[in-house]
């Protein structure tokens, strides 16, 4: 019994890591722009696909690949930064093409949210149209090692995922609270109209926010593809929605909230399956989240504001 509880804690930590990483992206954009970027789950999907192409390219899977063979760890080391850069380009493009024109025209935030939803659908179906419906099998970049302690088994990948999500959170927390650009981000979320008067370039800060959020989604995409190596164009939709719920439960706009909310959702989902019949998983899991929101409508770390979407 204890063994399976510890095993499930590891399962929940891994699964919660993905929710956390995606929820962080939601919450960053919301914190700065008060915009729910519903395309974020699909940016995560795009990130997974980009990392697939980058990794296959570096492994020499294409005719125009590098002339020298690279070992798996080096491929992974190159794939991570490349994917994060390329995914953030996608995120920034969305901001430039879809969100900024609406913001300039002073459109109500509601319209921007709907635009984000549409962008998500465009990304999904664009992928479907370009790459076709068949799934991609992600190459194995890391030699999987299974460690067994008694009846508990963890893989090196699982530990890697958990550690890197904690590391990413620590870096992000540092950027937000300790750097100048982080301070500017917090300032914009506090008062969007006074900040430009202080000489802070608001568009640059917004672009930076999208770069951060999207590269996080790209990073989550790599980790996800490594752990669940079957990619399809709609893989980001459901996990994106659930991560958004995690961000709301944690208190949207606060990165500590998103981080803990992600793990909370992971623990609730895995815990329900572990102790109840798995048929009721989503029913019980989301009832628990609903109760949390009923007691604390602004989420765990949220601050009550007069206007919300």
């Amino acid at each position: 019994m204890t063994a399976s509880i510890i095993q499930n804690i590891f399962n929940a930590l891994q699964w919660g890591s993905f929710y956390s990483l995606i929820a962080l992206g939601y919450t960053l954009v919301y914190g700065v722009l008060l915009l729910i970027n519903f395309a974020h789950g699909d940016i995560f999907m795009v990130g997974a696909y980009i990392s697939f192409f980058v990794a296959t390219f570096l492994l020499g899977g294409y005719a125009f690949g590098p002339p020298f063979g690279l070992p798996g760890w080096m491929v992974l080391g190159l794939t991570i930064p490349l994917t994060m850069i390329l995914t953030s380009v996608v995120g920034v493009t969305l901001e430039r093409v879809a969100y900024r024109p609406l913001r300039r025209k002073g459109a109500n935030r509601l319209y921007v949210v709907i635009t984000a939803l549409m962008c998500g659908i465009i990304l999904e179906n664009g992928n479907l149209a370009i790459l076709g419906a068949s799934r991609k099998s992600y190459p194995e970049l890391v030699d999987k090692v299974v460690y067994t302690f008694g009846s508990i088994t963890v893989t090196n990948l699982k530990i890697g995922v958990i550690l890197s999500s904690i590391l990413v959170f620590a870096i992000l927390q540092f950027i937000i609270t300790k750097t100048k650009i982080g301070m500017a981000m917090r300032a914009i979320s506090y008062d969007k109209f006074a900040v430009p008067l202080m000489g802070i370039p608001i568009d640059t800060i917004i672009v930076f926010t999208f770069v951060l959020g999207s590269s996080l989604a790209g990073f989550a995409g790599i980790l996800f593809a490594l752990s669940y190596p079957v990619l399809d164009p709609f893989m980001g939709a459901l996990i994106g929605w659930k991560a958004f719920i995690a961000a709301v439960v944690g208190g949207i706009g606060d990165i500590r909230g998103a981080f803990l909310g992600g793990f909370l959702l992971g623990f609730v989902e895995i815990g329900v399956v572990a102790f109840f019949p798995s048929t009721y998983r989503d029913l019980i899991a989301f009832t628990i989240l609903l109760i949390i929101l009923c007691i604390k409508p602004t989420g765990l770390f949220g601050v009550a504001k007069t206007t919300k979407v």
């Binding site: 063994a3 399976s4 095993q7 499930n8 399962n11 929940a12 891994q14 699964w15 479907l128 076709g132 419906a133 068949s134 799934r135 099998s137 999987k144 299974v146 067994t148 009846s151 088994t153 893989t155 990948l157 699982k158 996800f224 669940y228 190596p229 079957v230 399809d232 709609f234 893989m235 939709a237 459901l238 996990i239 989902e269 895995i270 815990g271 399956v273 572990a274 019949p277 798995s278 048929t279 998983r281 989503d282």
Partner: protein
């Protein structure tokens, strides 16, 4: 008035032209998943049908009552969704006015799709659906595959013999009629043969799930002799890998939804050595089956899975029905009716997935095979079970 005339004239002229052009064709609709969860299934269905069409049209068309008719196949995508299968079936019946529909493939779509065809009195034959509800009390619906009440016990008996299994665990997809139905049949049969508590773990997961670690942890803690996975190939790849990550070293047993050419690309080494029950074994086939496999391989570059062979058989059953009824022109309602009677009246059909005949529910009586995934990733014949 003038504005009204133009579209009416245009419409009428197109209508008459199409009657002139396609007067000598036979239209058959295909309601298949070209996108969605299992696109490879749709692709193989389409390719097999195209091959059949080309072969017959190259000979001048289908010979009915001494006259040759060209075949026209219309492919409608059902996105592997129940609601889209219904729309696709309606489109084929009402807009395209097809004689009969082949498909949908999986039971998730074939059960609602069958209802539409039965209500609209159009013959339908599902190549791949194994859930009993697809044809149950629906005189207009047929199928080319065996049924889950037959497949379930095949898996039970094989596992009991091969793995010496006394305890089993099941992991199935809750939102999938096929997976859920087969899991229940398997559970009931296994418990009947091995005692009431022999299913030590009976777990499910939802649509689009990618993490099965909690369910698998529970299953592994229950220490079954093997795990039964009546799931689609894309989920199988993830489940088997995650089970191995969690330290599971025992065997798996699968069902006919595993038999897809994409299984090995997605699953790789993890799936080697596993068994599943299916409709035909591609490796080591003989006769007409081998001829079909060779032609398909030459044309499309990979080995066809069971769904391609079953689509081939299903389409040929329809064609044989058309030839037997002898009616192609005339009132569509009457033609469809005589086609239905003709298919129901086929006494024995010699298909590439085996000999079959239809019982009064429109279900074929035919054999199942159990295959093993070899180290080369081929599905190798292990044994054949006949009713």
């Amino acid at each position: 008035m003038k504005r009204l005339h133009l579209p009416v004239i245009a419409f009428l002229s197109v209508f008459f032209m199409s009657v002139l052009c396609f007067g000598q064709t036979i239209k058959i609709g295909f309601n298949i998943p070209l996108t969605g969860d299992i696109p490879k299934v749709g692709e193989e269905s389409k390719f097999a049908a195209e091959m059949l069409k080309e072969e017959i049209n190259a000979n001048g068309g289908l010979l009915v009552e001494g006259k040759r008719y060209k075949l026209q196949f219309i492919y409608e995508d059902n996105e592997s969704k129940a609601e889209s299968a219904v729309t696709a079936a309606l489109k084929l019946i009402e807009r395209d006015k097809v004689l009969a529909i082949v498909g949908p493939n999986s039971s998730k779509q074939a059960v609602p799709g069958g209802q539409v065809c039965d209500d609209n009195r159009t013959p339908m034959i599902s190549p791949w659906s194994t859930n009993p509800d697809t044809t149950k009390d629906r005189p207009w619906v047929f199928r080319a595959a065996f049924l889950d009440p037959f497949q379930g016990p095949v898996a039970v008996d094989f596992a009991s013999k091969e793995f010496n299994a006394k305890k089993a665990a099941v992991l199935f997809a809750l939102a999938n009629d096929y997976s859920k139905g087969l899991a229940e049949i398997f559970r009931d049969d296994f418990e009947k043969k091995n005692g009431a508590d022999s299913i030590v773990s009976y777990e499910s997961y939802g649509d689009k799930d990618q993490d099965f670690s909690a369910q698998l942890t529970k299953i592994i803690a229950a220490k079954p002799d093997f795990i039964f996975l009546p799931n689609n190939y894309n989920e199988v790849a993830l489940i088997v890998k995650q089970a191995h990550d969690l330290g599971w070293k025992g065997p798996f047993m699968g069902s006919d939804a595993w038999g897809n050419s994409e299984l090995m690309t997605l699953c790789g080494d993890d799936c080697k050595g596993l068994f599943f029950s299916t409709h035909y074994a591609a490796a080591g086939a003989t006769g007409a089956t081998k001829e079909f496999i060779d032609r398909y391989k030459a044309k499309y570059g990979y080995q066809p899975a069971d769904v391609a062979a079953l689509t081939w058989d299903a389409a040929r059953i329809v064609l044989q029905g058309i030839q037997a009824s002898g009616k192609v022109t005339g009132k569509l309602k009457k033609v469809r009716e005589s086609l239905r009677d003709a298919i129901a009246g086929i006494s024995e059909f010699n298909g590439i997935t085996g000999k079959m005949r239809f019982d009064d529910q429109g279900d074929p009586i035919k054999c199942a095979v159990v295959v093993k995934i070899s180290d080369q990733g081929e599905f190798v014949f292990t044994e054949s079970v006949c009713p």
